[in-house]
């Protein structure tokens, strides 16, 4: 039987010391859905991401990717299965050039990464794909620049390009627009909106207009628990969300 869920999180708990960062969270994201996670700081959104991608082991609960139990699977194997992510705090390769950054993402899921006797330039297909990804995020003209010299906004674009370059089937975006100016936010939101629909998206975003505009379905987290799930309209109308997320007025 094929599982229609790209990501299925069952009763997931992650504790740090005595603190429950994530507590018995269950979440099913069907293939092709765009899901936004909302919640104030410390709600456990990024911890949930880290457990799904495999950079953290959950304390309890199971995680399924396309119906396969990946709870014990190392992070890089999950990437090979089609999971991709971005980071809230930009995590790129600062002393490498922009194109080298994306090349690393392109070759990450191939055997090519082990080849020691041919130059990077001798793989035109990889270069073409990397350039394609840079065009998608609008960084093609910066390809040979060292990332150190990119602006913060450009780094956020690169952050997205890295995640896309490994051709994920499930893409987890951790506040892709954080710290950006309104114009830059619109640009990032535009890039995300134009992604092919077969990519399942899970998005953490504090900017309500960005999140509600992109998502099909929304889950609201608070203190490590999912307190509400619904469509953007339902969420918008819900008084509890307004209180938890936007603060009491």
């Amino acid at each position: 039987m094929t599982d229609q869920n790209a990501v299925d999180v069952a009763e997931l708990t992650k504790t740090f010391g005595g603190i429950h960062a994530v507590e018995k969270v269950s979440l099913k994201v069907p293939i092709g859905q765009r899901r936004a996670l909302l919640g104030p700081n410390g709600a456990g959104k990024t911890t949930l991401f880290n457990c799904i991608t495999g950079s953290m082991r959950p304390s309890a609960g199971r995680i399924f990717l396309f119906g396969k139990d990946v709870t014990e699977m190392p992070e890089h194997h999950r990437t090979a299965m089609g999971i991709g992510r971005t980071y809230q705090i930009t995590n790129v390769f600062l002393k490498l050039s922009v194109i080298e950054n994306v090349l690393l993402a392109v070759q990450g899921t191939t055997r090519q990464k082990w080849i020691p006797y041919r130059s990077v330039e001798s793989f035109p297909e990889s270069l073409a794909r990397a350039t394609e990804e840079l065009e998608r995020v609008g960084l093609a003209n910066r390809a040979s620049v060292s990332v150190r010299y990119l602006s913060y906004g450009e780094r956020r674009q690169l952050e997205l390009a890295l995640a896309l370059a490994s051709r994920p089937r499930v893409l987890l975006l951790d506040e892709p627009a954080s710290g950006l100016s309104p114009a830059e936010r619109q640009r990032i939101a535009g890039i995300i909106a134009q992604l092919p629909r077969h990519i399942t998206l899970i998005l953490i975003e504090h900017d309500m207009s960005v999140a509600l505009g992109l998502a099909d379905q929304i889950a609201v987290l608070h203190r490590g628990r999912v307190i509400l799930e619904g469509t953007p309209d339902e969420i918008r109308a819900n008084p509890e969300v307004r209180e938890v997320y936007l603060g009491k007025v």
């Binding site: 991608t53 990332v147 890295l162």
Partner: protein
């Protein structure tokens, strides 16, 4: 490499080929040492400059290879054809075992590799029945392949030059390959590399084994030159000096470790003639490097050149164009 690069390389090789005709024994010995320890430093730089982990035990591979070759040549009278590959093989095996160190990182990696280096040193000192203890093993002959034998220092110099040059070119190829790029990615962000599908530990292990093997090769070249090996060759001192060469010369390049090797060995040879405690001078050199040339001599030269090129009128944008942002030579 651009046209100028090949030209510089050509001139360097031509000078290197002529060297024995011009230089006396003292200088040829010094040049051989620069090449051999430069190769050792190059092996350190694969980890330090490219992978971003700081090994402080590479004397272990260097000395184990030297000891293995020396013992086979001298005590068991084995030919070079067996003794030299055996020396290299011993270093490879040791690197396969010591590679476990990559499970740690940061300061723990430094400490673990240091301890691993100490094990070899300890064995060299205490297992006297096999290693001759502090007396070491001497009278290693020049290498010979049947009737094809090296008979003097300048012939051996050519052999060392050929091996080191071949290694440097292969190394350059490796660092520009997808594998080399992977190592630099790990240096910049291991967590991101994991998320992009890399088994970071496996790549670091591969780099460690390669690096240890290269250090072993340097050890084999060393023993046929020095013709004598004793515990100080395996000491922490050698590991530190190799790392120092990389830092002084400049990390992440092919030529940097050799420049560092030349600076340190020339200094040592000159300064030790006037000062008993030449280590003090080494300390000063190291502090000066860290303070004023953190990217080593190469980085300093690159910076000065950039300053010269950039006239005050257009010095506003720190734009870097293709190539300069990369950390490969």
């Amino acid at each position: 490499m651009g046209r100028r690069g090949w030209l510089v390389l050509g001139i360097t090789v031509a000078l290197a080929l002529l060297a024995p005709q011009v230089l006396g024994t003292f200088w040829i010995s010094l040049v051989i040492q620069v090449l051999v320890f430069g190769l050792l430093a190059l092996s350190v730089d694969l980890l330090l400059g490219h992978t971003g982990i700081f090994p402080l035990g590479h004397a272990a591979f260097f000395a184990l290879a030297a000891y293995t070759t020396a013992i086979l040549q001298v005590r068991y009278a084995q030919p070079t054809l067996l003794a030299a590959p055996a020396g290299l093989g011993a270093a490879v095996i040791l690197a396969l075992v010591y590679g476990l160190a990559v499970r740690t990182s940061g300061v723990y990696f430094i400490l673990v590799t240091m301890a691993m280096g100490h094990i070899v040193w300890g064995a060299a000192v205490t297992w006297a029945s096999f290693t001759n203890g502090d007396n070491g093993i001497g009278n290693v002959p020049f290498p010979a392949l049947g009737s094809l034998a090296i008979r003097n220092l300048s012939s051996y110099y050519y052999l060392v030059l050929a091996v080191v040059l071949a290694c440097a070119l292969a190394y350059r190829k490796l660092t520009r390959s997808p594998f080399g790029l992977t190592l630099r990615g790990i240096r910049e962000s291991g967590s991101r590399m994991h998320a992009l599908g890399y088994n970071v530990g496996a790549h670091r292990y591969a780099a460690f084994v390669l690096s240890g093997s290269l250090a072993g090769l340097a050890g084999v070249l060393y023993i046929y030159f020095n013709r004598f090996v004793s515990p100080p060759t395996a000491s922490l001192h050698v590991s530190v000096e190799a790392a120092l060469m990389v830092i002084v010369g400049g990390t992440g390049t092919v030529i940097g470790p050799f420049i560092g090797s030349a600076i340190i060995l020339v200094l040592r040879n000159y300064v030790s003639a006037y000062l008993v405690n030449w280590m003090t001078i080494m300390g000063v050199v190291f502090i000066a490097t860290v303070l004023w040339a953190p990217d080593g001599v190469l980085g300093l030269m690159r910076r000065l050149r950039a300053q010269l090129r950039m006239s005050p009128a257009r010095s506003e944008s720190p734009m870097v164009v293709a190539g300069e942002g990369k950390d490969t030579p």
